[in-house]
Structure formats: C-alpha cells, structure tokens
C-alpha cells in the first residue's frame, strides 16, 4: 500500500468517523453470515469481504453465488432477499455490488454482473411464486421461466421490476418505477416506462444536456 493511499484513508477516518464505524460493524456482521452459510448451507457461496448493514435472507435449495466485496445497504429496511424454488435454480451475483432492498425470486437462472447498484426492486423470472396451487386454467397459459441477465455496472432504480426474459447490457440505468419483460437492451442506455416504452442512449442524453 502506497503512502498516498494511507494518507487518503486517514483523511477519510478523520473527516467521517461514523462512516468508518458503520463499515466496521457491517464487516463484522458479514463475517457472521459468511460463517453461517459456510457451515450450514452447502449451496450458497459468498466471497470474503461481505459488508452487511441490513438483513440478508437466502432461502431455498438452489445454487447462490455472491462475489467478493459486495455490500448490502440499508434501503427501506428491506435488506437482500434471494428465494430459489428448485435445485436447478441458479443465482449469480458479481463482485463489488451494492445490494439493498432487492428481492430475487428465481426458478430458472438469474445472472447479475459486477458493480451493480440496486434500490428497492424486484427481480422475478416467473409471474407468480405459487403456481402449483389448485388447478387454474388461466395460469396454464403463462410462459415458462426465462433467463434474466444484467450486465456490468447496471443501476436499478427505486421500485423497478425486472421480469422474465429481460437482458440488460452493460452500464445501463433502469429508471425508477420501470417495468421490463422479455426484451433485450443494448449497452449504455436509459430504460424507462412502465411497461418499458423507450430505451434512450445515454451518450445522446448527455449531448443534449451539453455535458459531453
């Protein structure tokens, strides 16, 4: 570690000691979660620095992989919820993600890239969780689950819904309240609308604003 890095760290500690304290308590809490999932749950793998400020619930028999350096922020006290409904279900989350308030309900597979940032949002690869209830004809014409893929550095806004079959490229932004289903979006676009109507390239937006 170079001297400049140590200097900047010391400056950060002096300027904002509360932030550093919350980081330390989160790291300590994360160690508890790491220990629990390492010892009692074979299907869950979490990378080492896992900083937890809110509750984490990983339920179900499916395979869950979370990369290194992820942090679960306090977003509306909701924490991170990952639900898998079968043994074949796989949830993969990249490294250095900021996850808070996200609910992932998965029957097939969900893949999230590195450095993804989320607010209170719902990622669900089927419309209904309890589809195997009493025989309902309307439920039979529902499509089967489809893979959900989020690229690197995606930002999910507040109350956004990512439904089955959506593929979102790198560096995209999902605006708050947007609802996307069964569509593929390119890299670096702003996706908005409920249901999604337009995906505007962010380069174009920045040029219009005069920032580029």
């Amino acid at each position: 570690m170079s001297i400049d890095k140590i200097k900047s760290l010391m400056k950060r500690i002096i300027e904002n000691p509360g932030d550093v304290l919350s980081y330390a308590t989160g790291l300590f809490r994360g160690l508890g979660y790491l220990f629990y999932y390492k010892v009692f749950r074979n299907n869950v793998t979490i990378g080492f620095p896992f900083i937890v400020d809110a509750k984490v619930r990983i339920i179900g028999p499916g395979t869950v992989t979370i990369g290194k350096g992820c942090r679960v922020m306090k977003n509306a006290f909701k924490g991170l919820t990952i639900l898998t409904f079968s043994k074949d279900a796989t949830v993969t989350i990249g490294s250095k993600c900021l996850l808070g308030g996200t609910t992932i309900r998965c029957r097939g597979s969900v893949a999230i890239g590195d450095r993804t940032m989320t607010a209170v949002s719902l990622i669900q690869d089927r419309f209904f969780v309890h589809e195997d209830g009493p025989g309902i004809e309307a439920r039979r014409r529902l499509p089967a689950e489809k893979k959900i893929t989020l690229g690197r550095n995606v930002w999910l806004g507040e109350d956004s819904f990512v439904m089955s079959g959506s593929t979102i490229g790198d560096d995209c932004v999902l605006s708050s309240g947007s609802w996307c289903h069964d569509a593929a979006y390119q890299d670096y676009v702003l996706i908005m609308g409920s249901p999604v109507r337009s995906a505007i390239p962010i380069d174009k937006l920045l040029r219009l604003k005069g920032e580029l």
């Binding site: 990952i82 969780v129 609802w179 249901p195």
Partner: protein, 183 residues
C-alpha cells in the same frame, strides 16, 4: 404436518371468531399458515378451502382483511389462495372463485379526499366505487386494484401493475396504469 397445523389453526380461528361474535362467515377447510388480521364492523364472507399465508422471504407481510364501514361487504369465493393479500372494503368488494392474490392489495376507497383538509371523500358512492373481481384471476406481487374497477374472468395481472380501469375477461395487464399486453 405443516398443512395439518394450518388446518388446526384455521379451526381455532373460526371458533374464536364465533366466540367474539364477529360479523365473519368463513367456509370449511380454512388453512392459516401465518398471522391473519381481520378487523372492522362490516360483513366478511369467505368460501370453502381458503388458504391464508405470508409471502416467503418477507416476514413482515401477512393477510389483512378490513372493513371500514358497518354496511361494508367483502365477499371472497371458494378455493381462494391469499398470500399476504391486503383487502380494504368501504362499500362492496366481490371476489370470485379460485383466485390467487400474491403480496397485492385491493381497495374500493381513496381513504382521503384530494382537497387541502384531506378529509373523508364526499363524492364516493357505492355504485361508482364497488370492485368486482372475476373467477380464476391471478394477481402478482406488489400490484394493486383501485376503486371502481370490474375485472373479468381468467385475467392475469402482472407483478407491479396498478389497475385503474376495468379489464376485459381473458386478458393480461401490466404496468402503471395497467395496459393490456400479450406474450
């Protein structure tokens, strides 16, 4: 074992309702997996083989049925599956048979007027505000049905949609405000 406990819990709940003299009528085969809140002086009628449970992964949500008026009526048909459903009736809500409601809400009032004092809305009347939901309707997570809507049979309401207008039978709606879409 879990189903048996739920059935037993339903039986206990029914006898408690009868002992308290609540204005509630629930058919046979009620299964309760989680906390249930039923309140208000209005009439609540639920058919046979109803399931009341929470949504997995969110411990803070449970089934909440409420009537806001002594003359209010809330009717739910047979074989209903209510997973963390929130239903509030001020006038009349009629839900058909075989419905599935997941982490969603139905209400037939706005609770407050849009005037500055935020008082009780004066213009709400039963014939304009009543909500009717057909048979075999499925409601997804975090969606809601607002006042004055009629939803036909076999409708699928996708997760996260806000239904403000009436929906034709057999269609699928999504978004805010909810619009028809097909797969």
């Amino acid at each position: 074992m879990r189903d048996f406990l739920a059935l037993l819990r339903g039986r206990i709940f029914l006898t408690l309702c009868r002992l308290k003299g609540m204005n509630v009528k629930i058919g046979r085969g009620l299964r309760i997996y989680k906390r249930v809140s039923i309140s208000g002086a209005g009439r609540i009628e639920i058919g046979e083989n109803c399931i009341m449970a929470g949504i997995p992964g969110d411990s803070s949500q449970y089934v909440c049925l409420e009537t806001l008026n002594p003359a209010a009526v809330l009717q739910i048909g047979d074989d209903a599956s209510l997973y963390a459903a929130r239903i509030a009736a001020k006038f009349r809500i009629v839900v058909g048979n075989n419905v599935l409601i997941e982490e969603a809400g139905i209400m037939d009032t706005d609770y407050h007027s849009i005037a500055k004092d935020r008082g009780t809305p004066a213009s709400e009347k039963e014939d304009k505000c009543r909500v009717t939901v057909g048979n075999r309707v499925c409601m997804g997570a975090r969606s809601s049905i607002l006042k004055g809507t009629t939803i036909g049979d076999d409708v699928i309401i996708a997760p996260g949609s806000i239904v403000t207008m009436s929906v034709k039978p057999g269609s699928m709606v999504a978004g805010n405000p909810a619009k028809m879409f097909s797969i």
